[in-house]
């Protein structure tokens, strides 16, 4: 899967960081960073949680 974040929509709620810390972090500059744009399938459940819990719908996943 490929993870894409629309940074213009990101509102820094940080729920994705909690759901999938292997994939998302908020960097020292205060902006969201995708640590791993193509996470392995064993992270699928965590990424799905990040997608559905994002209050601004900024995260999408393509196969």
């Amino acid at each position: 899967m490929k993870v894409v974040v629309d940074l213009s929509s990101c509102d820094l709620h940080g729920l994705c960081v909690e759901a999938a810390p292997e994939v998302f972090e908020i960097g020292d500059d205060g902006a969201l960073r995708v640590l791993n744009e193509t996470p392995s399938d064993d992270l699928r459940a965590k990424v799905d949680k990040a997608v559905r819990e994002c209050p601004t719908g900024a995260i999408s996943v393509t196969e």
């Binding site: 820094l12 559905r52 209050p55």
Partner: protein, 405 residues
């Protein structure tokens, strides 16, 4: 599961209802799935109503979670604009206002809440509330013409409406019953900070007063306050909280007490679940049955009940969640995680109230129970994680010292 589930009905085309439907399908449920909503709109997102929609930066359509064709993969029997009127637990049937009904093997109730209204005040043009998409569209239209708006209730909705009004250069008088708005939720120091912030943006704040009457016959012309003063206004917006939509369940046999009381699986009766604003679900983190009106709670409970209903491997696992909400006012983002009570002690550990940029921790006994940030989103992430472990106050404060705040 004792018997196969072939018919699931979800009452409430809300965030919780939609997330439940999505979860059922993503977990492989392929039976009939009915989603009933009393509004004519497809499920939409509420937080933007008092933010982007009122500010005029979003069209109403941008609040829809899915466009029309986005519902095809969910294969729903989507019944919009129709209210549920009663529940028969024995017959496993929900009766609808259009004369129809839906029978179920499993039921999810996500009927949310509706606004509280001022007692004894008759509705009239210009007397508005903000809860639904239709409410937001009406209010936005009124703000385009209004010169002066009176806001009754300085909760988060009222304060966001005030912010939207001021960004449109509309005059605002904001009225609040409490001496310090929101003090029971965020503490007096932050409540006072919010008052000062709104006053600096030109809001005329009147605290410790109630509305005794509204004048203007064919249309609102103003409000009368308990101190005898009159406030002329073209528009009056009332934001004094919500009540759960459980009227249709009276006499059904479900336990109703400021919401639908349900266990940690979200089950209110055999095969009947509740989620979102309408539910009082046992919450292990809370240690009781809170009714929580937040966005993330609706998502988490919608997902949780769908998983429990299908007999998840962790079936019977109780719900446990740290409540979270946020509010955008002017150039400030206020975020709150946890649960404070009126007499909890608050300690600012970074920034300051004067700067209106801060991280505050809340203490009850020897525990950390909540964290509030203003324009410090990274700190919130840190404390969200910490709060989930129900940490001691000493641990939290030691952590602050260590990280050099």
């Amino acid at each position: 599961m004792a018997q196969a589930v072939r018919r699931v009905a979800i009452i409430g085309a809300s965030l919780a209802g939609l997330r439940a439907a999505e979860t059922l399908r993503s977990r492989g449920y392929d039976g009939a799935l009915t989603l009933v909503g009393d509004e004519r709109h497809r499920p939409y997102d509420r937080p933007p109503l008092s933010k982007q929609v009122l500010h005029g930066t979003w069209t109403p359509e941008q609040t829809f979670f899915r466009q029309k064709d986005g519902y095809d993969p969910l294969a729903l029997d989507l019944r919009l604009g129709v209210r549920a009127t009663s529940l028969d637990l024995r017959a496993k049937r929900v009766t609808l206002a259009d004369g129809g009904w839906t029978d179920y093997d499993r039921l999810i109730i996500a009927t949310g809440a509706r606004v509280r209204t001022l007692p004894g005040i008759v509705g009239r043009p210009g007397l508005l509330v903000l809860r639904t998409l239709d409410d937001a569209v009406v209010l936005r239209g009124e703000l385009e013409r209004a010169r002066r708006v009176a806001i009754v209730g300085m909760g988060f909705i009222g304060l966001e409406v005030a912010s939207a009004c001021r960004s449109r250069s509309v005059d605002v008088v904001a009225v609040e019953l409490l001496p310090v708005p929101l003090a029971p939720i965020v503490g007096p120091a932050v409540g006072e900070m919010l008052v000062a912030m709104h006053a600096d943006h030109g809001v005329d704040v009147r605290t410790g007063v109630t509305v005794t009457d509204i004048y203007g016959e064919s249309r609102v012309a103003g409000i009368v306050l308990s101190d005898g003063s009159r406030v002329d206004a073209d528009v009056v917006v009332v934001g004094i909280g919500v009540v759960p939509n459980t009227d249709w369940l009276e006499g059904s046999g479900l336990t109703l007490d400021n919401g639908i009381v349900c266990d940690g699986a979200g089950e209110a009766a055999p095969d009947v679940y509740a989620a979102g604003d309408v539910a009082r679900m046992a919450n292990a983190w809370h240690g009781d049955f809170p009714r929580i009106e937040h966005w993330t709670n609706a998502v988490e409970q919608g997902v949780h009940v769908a998983e429990q209903l299908l007999g998840a491997p962790d079936r019977g696992t109780g719900f446990s969640s740290v409540p979270y909400f946020w509010s955008d006012q002017y150039d400030r983002k206020i975020q709150f995680i946890g649960r404070a009570r009126p007499h909890d002690e608050m300690l600012v550990v970074d920034g300051s109230v004067a700067e209106r940029r801060l991280t505050a921790l809340y203490r009850r006994g020897d525990r950390l129970v909540a964290c509030l940030t203003v324009n410090q989103p990274r700190a919130l992430i840190k404390y969200r994680k910490l709060l989930a472990s129900n940490p001691s106050w000493d641990t939290a404060v030691a952590d602050v010292t260590r990280s050099g705040h």
